[in-house]
């Protein structure tokens, strides 16, 4: 009896100790993961003379909020952000429209060659786009599209294998009985798509919208290849220009970087649940 109680006691103590270690590791890890963000924000409001000192100060002696005004005066940052917004919104619209149509066909319709086409889709999911990068540039340059947004936006309207797969996975989870019932009521195939599948798939369509927007917003290589006119730059190229054009001013670079990250972070916080679900749908069930 006595021994058992001691044993239980030590087991409980071990469990508590384990919990303390877990929380300790999680808190320390969280701080480490947050330090880069804090460093960015701290640098972005520093006066220039406090940027280049060692050891660095975490909290500047005075907060220079003007840095965030200066970046819009020194560079057409507002213009860059607007350009990014235009490119990202159009890419998002193209991806959502085209991928939902194609995903619906793969999930619901019977047609010859569906097996082989789906196989091709899976293969192209793995295909690195670097393989087609050079000939695509040559094709787009023949079309006179170099220097325009077309090479960045138009392909989105023709489906993205990853998003098609994601939507197809989601559509197959919608009960087929709903389609059958609608069919009995005289609903056509496009009607089933528009009235049943789309309204029931808002979370999945939301994921595709967010991911395609974020991808376009963060894209650097595409604009780097196709755009050369300063006023057409999206924020990714604008940041790069900021880094190379003048003597590097880290406080201003960090302020611009922080601004560039805001839209993606806002989207993430607004739709955190969708976001996580999307990763899980495409990741675990894949």
């Amino acid at each position: 009896m006595q021994r058992k109680r001691v044993l239980l006691h030590s087991k409980k103590r071990r469990a508590i100790l384990g919990k303390i270690i877990v929380y300790f590791l999680l808190v320390v890890g969280a701080i480490v993961f947050l330090v880069p963000f804090i460093w960015m924000l701290s640098t972005s409001v520093k006066p220039p003379e406090e940027v280049y000192i060692f050891p660095p100060k975490w909290i500047p002696s005075r907060f220079v909020w003007e840095n965030y005004v200066k970046i819009f005066e020194l560079m057409p940052t507002g213009r860059f952000l607007l350009n990014s917004l235009v490119i990202s919104c159009l890419t998002m619209a193209g991806s959502v429209i085209s991928c939902s149509l194609v995903g619906f066909a793969f999930a619901r319709l019977r047609f010859r060659g569906s097996g082989i086409l789906f196989f091709i889709l899976l293969i192209t999911m793995m295909l690195p786009h670097q393989v087609t990068m050079v000939p695509l540039y040559m094709i787009f340059s023949k079309l006179g599209w170099v220097g325009t947004y077309f090479p960045l936006i138009v392909p989105a309207f023709f489906g993205n294998p990853y998003f098609i797969f994601l939507l197809r996975q989601f559509f197959t989870t919608i009960p087929k009985e709903l389609d059958e019932a609608a069919k009995v009521d005289g609903c056509s195939i496009p009607g089933i798509f528009a009235r049943i599948i789309v309204p029931m798939s808002k979370p999945a369509l939301g994921i595709v919208a967010i991911l395609s927007f974020t991808d376009a917003w963060n894209d650097f290589m595409g604009p780097l290849i196709y755009l050369s006119e300063f006023t057409k730059f999206p924020i990714s190229l604008g940041l790069r220009a900021f880094q190379t054009l003048r003597v590097v001013q880290w406080e201003l670079l960090m302020a611009t970087s922080a601004i560039a990250l805001i839209p993606v972070l806002v989207l993430f916080f607004l739709a955190q649940k969708n976001y996580i679900q999307g990763i899980v749908i495409s990741g675990v069930k894949g």
Binding site: M126, P128, V131, Y137, I164, S257, K285
Partner: protein, 307 residues
Amino acid sequence: MKRKRTIHQIEEMTAYVFLSPWLIGFLAFVAIPMVLSLFYSFTDANMLTSPQFIGLKNYRNLFSFDDTVSLFWKTLYNTSFYTFVGVPLNIALGLFIAVLLNQKIRGLGVFRTIYYLPSVISGVAVSLLWAWIFHPHFGVLNHLLSLVGISGPAWLFDEAWAKPALIIMNLWGAGGSMLIFLAGLQGIPTQLYEAAELDGASTWAKFWKVTIPMLSPTIFFVLVTNIIGSFQVFTSSYVMTAGGPNNATMMYVLWLFNLAFQQFNMGFACSLAWVYLLIMVAFTALVFKSSPAWVYYESDIVGGRKS
């Protein structure tokens, strides 16, 4: 009978209409460019003069060991180092955090958001942020190291430390794999752990004998996608080091980009692209071939469960 067939025909026609964006996109942006790419890889295409057929010269040059002719071996080494050191570390860290978060703790949502946040963002802004963190004199990393008495290296300016620096930066994004592992962990039936406990298994034994085998399909998926993604690394090396110092961070795709869009050596760049594709295919085939040896699928035993 006749009516039924027409219904099927309508369905089939409708299907092709729905598929048409992707069918056209696949032909225009994938299939035709790939064939063109293969064709150009046997030419001296350069955007200025019309391409001349030069046989296997591009491929012969590509595999040359002469640094002035080809950076193939150098970039292959750099990219492989970045991938095969970075990805396992990334997965180990992601798994470690996921296991900690799976301990029925309070504040799960907050911790999950903090760890996942860095992997949401990417691109030039993040590369600039890390270039500033790694700054040899005024960067925060060397400051933190100096607090524990270590005098940090010059990171991106040091040939030996530039690649590890990029790997450290990549670890900041371990939240992506963490999230997938966390979902995988929550799918493991608790009875398995209870049974193991009855058999007197230690925490360590439970981790290796239950968690890892049950999670192996997820680990497999994360491994494959991370390796493919890691081989495409471009923005960080372009923005942070431009491939330097002394080509220490010259990655395969960065070299391809430079050849194609700075030297307009399109033909040579196409041969690079095809070799790159073959490497990826061979690698993926290898991983899939090896998977039965270490990936444990529930359906192997239960049978019939198809996803």
